[in-house]
């Protein structure tokens, strides 16, 4: 009846996961009661859960990412604490079994359920606005993508309370992850959760490539698109071509585990190196899926806060596309030690170093954008500068690792761990925090507190360097990654420093929450009236903050590279706005519960597969098919926003803009 699921699945004997789960359940229950008490469920259901509005979906992605960041960080600091304590005679407070689950969960969550939803959230929120259109190409599918991603996150977190998580490392390498060596449900949780969220990611990629290539405001030719849209395009192209390979690798491992196939087993002719190749054919491009949009955010920040057009726009576009393509040709550098031979290793080593060239082009472009500009030192610029300092060093250690003989010495060591944390925190996380500060007023109509924002930046910046730079030394001295116990007492001071660094990052995360609450409390003093708080250059700053559901009353006509900047300067010079256009009713997609229902059945089905409850899995599949048929049968897909509403809204915006224009012309 319940497959492998018994009461023994609840970890009564392990206080840490048990107490954590109870606290999480209490928090969720408390939130539910609070929402019910304020009667906010209808609002949440209509405005967020079933919304097809790309802005709302973007916000949901980012909320999911921030919640999962707390979980992933908790895992991280537990590991740091264990390594700082378990030295010499001491064994620390985590058993090896538990420790292995924690580092697996940390990597899985941080990549799949923090970095990915954060990046996709920004693409959702920003891309249609920057393109000057009203939504993505497939709004309902967008909602489905989000909920599938959330379903994956749910299953990963469920493993805390029911059963266990994988102990294999975040990529579940076989043969360790085969049922012979990992008989429990941990690897199954991992595989099923990633398959479900992977489907969502492929749908996202289809959606955004179509959106960027086929739905742009009139006049916005390719070389007039903002750089963030270019990087989003490159990122989604990589997703489209890389995620199916992940699906295959994970599906083959599932077949091995569930049906006794022999893809990667030690016996039957299986070949575990096939898995390494497949997983890294996805895994290396994945890095660029994350970092290219991050580069896009830095480009927007650099141009806006320097008050100058981006230096070398075309070279930026070419560099982005070069990275997009080369990112497929380097996967083997993750296992130079496989024994493919000197020639193959040399090819992949050189290809890996070549990526440094377009990246270097980008760094110089940002520097030259700032050079000669009137740089305003708002929070996003702090992250931009912090990023350039940190990322260049991370990139250089990457070039070191790309030299096969060096890699043979330091592979799987803390040197590697330090390298990829340096590029992911210094590259991606700093960009996400910059973007969070930069676009927050557009989403909610008020800015975040600058003072606390700067404090958060310093926590991340100082905390990161303390937490990871010592690892370079430890790695060179021979410390391998993922150690539950440290044999060499002379490493203790370095590990203690790293724990302090992690604690400072933790303080930064706490301060982020404080900043949010404080900014909400004082929002009346920090309203963004004009919709253009940073003196922006791209089309998202043309509309109000927060934008109406349909973004633009009339799609903007684009002339030149910096669509909004050109228009704004003309208005300031002529001291008038463009003539009032002819407003028309607007057709917008209606809300739909399809996404949340599909995700419900996907979760049920996934849970059933993890625990071998086959009847429930069949129920889940039938449910999913039924909702597909039901959705296809629906006749109403759009509703019309009447022209009176559009006109009233647009006139209000024009009135605000005119006032702003007068205040500018009086001050100059």
């Amino acid at each position: 009846m319940f497959g492998r699921l018994t009461l023994a699945a609840i970890p009564f004997d392990q206080p840490i996961p048990l107490i954590t789960s109870l606290v999480v359940l209490l928090v969720i229950g408390g939130l539910a009661v609070w929402i019910s008490k304020n009667k906010w469920w209808p609002y949440l259901w209509n405005e967020y859960i079933t919304s097809t509005d790309h802005k709302r979906i973007g916000v949901m992605y980012i909320v999911l990412a921030l919640v999962m960041l707390v979980r992933g960080f908790a895992d991280g600091i537990m590991m740091r604490a264990q390594q700082a304590i378990a030295i010499g005679p001491s064994q620390g407070y985590l058993t090896p079994e538990h420790y292995n689950q924690i580092f697996t969960a940390h990597g899985t969550i941080m990549i799949f359920f923090v970095a990915m939803p954060f990046v996709i959230g920004f693409m959702n929120f920003v891309v249609p606005l920057q393109l000057g259109v009203r939504d993505v190409a497939f709004p309902t599918m967008n909602n489905v993508s989000f909920w599938l991603n959330a379903s994956g996150a749910l299953l990963v977190n469920l493993s805390l309370f029911l059963g266990e998580f994988a102990r294999t490392g975040w990529l579940a390498f076989p043969p360790l992850s085969e049922s012979q060596f990992s008989p429990g449900v941990g690897v199954d949780y991992y595989l099923v959760a990633l398959q479900i969220s992977g489907v969502g990611t492929v749908l996202t990629a289809v959606n955004f490539v179509t959106t960027i290539l086929k739905t742009r405001a009139p006049g916005m030719s390719y070389l007039r698109m903002p750089v963030f849209c270019w990087t989003a395009l490159a990122s989604n192209l990589i997703m489209l071509a890389a995620f199916p390979v992940l699906t295959v690798a994970l599906a083959q491992l599932m077949l091995d585990r569930y049906l006794g196939f022999h893809f990667f087993t030690n016996d039957g002719g299986g070949n575990s190196m096939l898995y390494m190749n497949l997983i890294w054919v996805w895994g290396h491009p994945e890095v660029y899926i994350l970092v290219l949009p991050a580069f896009g955010i830095y480009s927007e920040v650099a141009a806006t806060f320097s008050g100058k057009p981006l230096f070398g726009y075309r070279s930026m576009v070419f560099a982005t596309l070069a990275i997009c393509i080369i990112s497929y040709m380097v996967w083997l550098h993750h296992f130079f030690t496989m024994g493919a031979g000197g020639d193959i290793n040399a090819v992949f080593g050189i290809a890996s170093m070549v990526i440094g060239i377009p990246t270097g082009v980008k760094i110089y472009n940002w520097l030259f954008t700032m050079y000669g500009g009137r740089v305003r030192f708002n929070v996003p610029v702090y992250y931009l500068i912090g990023f350039m300092l940190t990322f260049v060093v991370g990139g250089l250690t990457g070039v070191l690792l790309a030299i096969p003989p060096v890699d043979f010495v330091v592979h799987n060591s803390l040197f590697l761990v330090a390298h990829f944390h340096q590029v992911i925190i210094g590259g991606v996380v700093f960009a996400l925090m910059a973007g969070y500060t930069y676009w927050f007023p557009k989403a909610f109509g008020f800015t975040l507190d600058e003072r606390l924002g700067k404090a958060v930046f310093w926590c991340w910046f100082i905390g990161f360097h303390l937490a990871f730079i010592p690892s370079y030394l430890l790695g060179l001295w021979g410390a391998t990654r993922r150690m539950q116990h440290i044999p060499d007492p002379s490493w203790a001071p370095f590990l203690a420093v790293e724990l302090v660094g992690a604690a400072i990052i933790g303080l930064g995360i706490v301060l982020t929450v404080v900043q949010l609450l404080y900014s909400i409390k004082t929002r009346d003093q920090r309203r963004d009236i004009t919709g253009d708080p940073w003196d922006g250059r791209t089309l998202e700053w043309l509309t109000l903050s927060p934008p109406p559901h349909y973004n633009f009353a009339v799609l903007p006509d684009v002339h030149g590279e910096e669509a909004y900047w050109t228009r704004k300067q003309t208005a300031i010079k002529e001291e008038k706005l463009i003539d009032e256009p002819h407003y028309q009713p607007i057709e917008m997609p209606i809300n739909t519960p399809t996404g949340v229902i599909v995700a419900f059945f996907a979760s049920v089905c996934g849970f059933a597969v993890i625990w071998y409850i086959w009847w429930l899995a069949i129920v889940g599949l039938i449910g999913a098919f039924a909702i597909f048929v039901w959705y296809a049968w629906r006749d109403e897909h759009e509703h019309i926003i009447p022209v009176e509403e559009v006109r009233a809204n647009a006139r209000e915006r024009r009135r605000i803009r005119m006032e702003h224009l007068h205040s500018i012309s009086q001050s100059t």
Partner: protein
């Protein structure tokens, strides 16, 4: 499929968009956007199959002492199977032509025939799988057979999903007629069905023809 009075895509109320295909003149109409998105999905499916082909190529000689390719495959049977699938695709093309002329009876007939040929294909595949498993050459026997069953079975699963989709398309056309959104879906279905043919041609060549070389 593109007619003059297309419903505009999201955001398109800004004058008329002539379908340049490049999106320079504002958002394209749905008759461009929807099939374009579906093509991208098909491309990602091709990537999925290419990973399965790569796995098969890696493992084809890893028979672990079990049967190898030229002891298992029957060219004649696979030839019939292939003809069934290719004919199914051809008939699907006929259905598209009749659907364009809004001829309900013939569209339904051709769609049903498409499905029947698809069923013939699937039955032969299942028969072959059953026979192999009966001879002790199931997917658990060796890495080669795991890769074979996964590659060919994944194509078969796509055909099955296609047949379920075809069923809903037949019902939708029957109940709602040749509405624009329905014919758009039919176009996507035919793209999918032809794409499965292309993949089958690769399977036929790489797995069966090369596998039965003496």
């Amino acid at each position: 499929m593109s007619t003059i009075s297309e419903t505009p895509a999201i955001g398109l109320t800004h004058g008329g968009s002539e379908d340049t295909g490049l999106g320079h003149r504002g958002p394209e109409s749905k008759s461009i956007v929807v099939p374009y998105g579906f093509w991208l999905f098909v491309l990602s499916d091709m990537v999925l199959f290419s990973a399965l082909f790569a796995s098969y190529a890696t493992l084809v000689h890893a028979t672990d002492g079990g049967p190898a390719t030229n002891q298992l495959f029957d060219r004649n049977l696979v030839a019939i199977e292939t003809m069934a699938l290719l004919l199914s695709s051809f008939v699907c093309g006929l259905a598209m032509i009749t659907a364009k002329r809004k001829n309900m009876a013939w569209t339904q007939i051709w769609l049903v025939v498409t499905g029947l040929f698809g069923l013939v294909f699937l039955s032969i595949e299942l028969f072959e799988f059953g026979k192999m498993i009966g001879e002790g050459a199931g997917p658990q026997r060796s890495a080669f057979l795991s890769a074979f069953f996964t590659l060919v079975g994944c194509h078969g699963a796509h055909v099955t999903a296609g047949l379920l989709w075809l069923g809903t398309m037949i019902a939708q056309i029957w109940a709602k007629g040749f509405r624009q959104d329905i014919t758009r879906r039919l176009l996507c279905f035919s793209v999918f069905w032809h794409a499965l043919d292309i993949i089958w041609v690769a399977i036929f060549t790489i797995v069966y023809l090369i596998g039965t070389l003496p």
